[in-house]
Symmetry: C2
Subunit: 351 residues, 2 copies
């Protein structure tokens, strides 16, 4: 008996590696060191050469790992595989920038029932797109064929992002104070959270198919709305931080993921403070209303499960709200004043 | 409808986090920074405080990602969950040290059909054990509940390890030359590779159960041999490297994983060189013989799929073979002269 007869196809693995080569190379930077034997990806933290010069005094490494949850099951059902990779990168790099870190590189883990070079390279296409948007190198990855754990067409994804921030510029919320302003950046939909509930409500209970275009969605299909990729906030946020290298203008930041605003915003500001959120300052996308109405989900539960249209929040010193928002808009983001920091907590207040 | 009714159990997630807290804390170091909001794990690369003092001139970051492959299916079948975490750490950190990097921290991704705090904390116990052995901090992790992708009791694991190496001390094989000596360090069995074939041969074709104790295994059961954790070579290897900070004594290193010696050893030495391997210099463990005989797998195929008893190889300057081997032995490793570097290649030569 041979390995191939036992179901492990090394030729498919080789073809996959050939297919993704250019997708990896387009994310690279001069700080990525050659593939020495390839047991590990190597990345120069300091870089003294001209252009791309980087030096850190007291570098703090920031690391995050995440998957895309059951959004993957929607992508598999729709056989639309080129966007979940963007979600994968986004979920990780948006977490990284919350502490002020600049993402340097990303690694992916793909486990599949059957290694289909064509389908899985579509996934890597999305990962590569996400890395380009986030400005980080796709430094490595692992693709595992695991029949018996996954159905032949199924796969799972995990991502790992590494970033760096000067120790003195770590953003940890400790400078937040009453009167600071919460600036929201808009999301593009549910991003990668709440799909357990969204699928149950829309696909099971509501009986919608992914191709349905209910009038509530104003022309879009259920699948389109559910598969819209997670926005990557890295460039906009780093742009703001680069403007205020000395002053502590941005006091805290939160990526709004599972748990929604109530689960993510309070944890980045010190005890004894809360944010009074102006509920009328924005309108959630139609997909959220469709989920709430179809599933008879109350508003408090919706807020706890979904981002409800708020993808990211910056807590900003009051005098700098206008220039920060201008800069976010110039970077292409929708943003607005979400509320104000005040004494109280730990729960958010609603106005 | 609520999130819980949709099948996502936040209470179980909270219980899991409580259970693993001490497992995470025992791996920590003063270089791990507090949990600021927790969107990312923070780790100080340079550390100027007394004790643990670390400074890097030109730090190169090394990163690896890997899973444990279908060894997981053996662990699930045996319901023995506390060792695959060691494999997960080992597969990653052994890759890292090949370039001379010292592992700093590790992150894990666990995806399960149902989040069982008790079962999954056994997995984290193994991950924590592995991190302690490798001397790295368990800096973060993600645990995802994904019914619909995994059966309730099934789960998958992915790991990410980050290390650092001074640029001038990156080990990349370029200094290897004819006459250098390949020193083997013993494995503890198949480690985490070749399980597609091992399972097919022993469990399907051979009809063995995991509890069977065939005489060939000299008292051990099939399950025990298949679940023996991957050895972690980090401390032994770093011990050797610490001895020779200036001289280029260790020219190249290879972690023997999927592809075996023929797949892993040639890729760490320059083109035009090969290693002549003395096939009689060691005896593979009985489990390998049992697989070969039960499955009628020829020796070449066995060598290409399994480590066959060789877990790690160092290419060492000839004058330093004895002191290097002494040091490895003092660190608790079995080691021997496996062969010699000579002109030729790219295939290994066998003697």
């Amino acid at each position: 008996m041979t390995y191939k007869q036992a179901g492990v196809d090394i030729d498919a693995a080789d073809e996959f590696v050939r297919r993704i080569r250019s997708l990896v190379e387009r994310t690279t930077s001069p700080r990525v060191m050659g593939n020495y034997g390839g047991f590990a990806g190597l990345f120069r933290l300091d870089y003294n050469e001209r252009l791309f010069k980087r030096n850190y005094r007291e570098p703090v490494l920031a690391a995050a790992t995440d998957g895309v949850g059951t959004k993957l099951l929607v992508a598999l059902a729709a056989d639309r595989l080129d966007t979940v990779g963007i979600d994968l990168v986004a979920m990780n790099v948006n977490d990284l920038v919350c502490c002020g870190a600049e993402p340097l590189f990303f690694l992916d883990y793909i486990a599949a029932g059957k290694l289909s070079p064509k389908r899985l390279s579509e996934v890597v296409k999305g990962i590569s797109d996400g890395c380009v948007t986030a400005g980080c190198a796709l430094l490595g990855g692992e693709t595992a064929e695991m029949p018996g754990l996954y159905e032949p067409k199924d796969f799972d994804l995990a991502g790992f992002a590494l970033g760096v921030v000067e120790r003195k510029r770590v953003i940890d919320g400790r400078n937040a104070r009453p009167g600071d302003v919460a600036v929201a950046i808009g999301s593009d939909g549910p991003h990668s959270n709440g799909y357990g509930l969204a699928r149950k409500v829309l696909l099971d209970k509501g009986g919608y198919s992914l191709d349905d275009r209910p009038p509530e969605l104003e022309g879009a299909s259920v699948g389109e709305e559910l598969l819209r990729p997670t926005r990557i906030y890295v460039r906009a946020v780093l742009d703001v931080l680069a403007q205020y290298k000395v002053k502590r203008v941005v006091r805290a930041m939160a990526h709004i993921t599972g748990g929604g605003l109530p689960g993510n915003l309070p944890r980045v500001i010190p005890e004894g403070l809360t944010v009074r959120v102006k509920r009328q300052s924005w309108t959630p996308q139609p997909i959220f209303r469709l989920i709430a109405e179809t599933g008879n989900v109350d508003e408090i539960e919706m807020m706890r499960v979904f981002n409800m249209g708020v993808g990211f929040v910056l807590i900003v010193a009051p005098d700098f709200v206008r220039p920060v928002m201008n800069r976010l808009r110039r970077a292409g983001e929708r943003c607005w004043v979400l509320g104000k920091v005040r004494r109280g907590g730990p729960e958010l207040e609603w106005a």
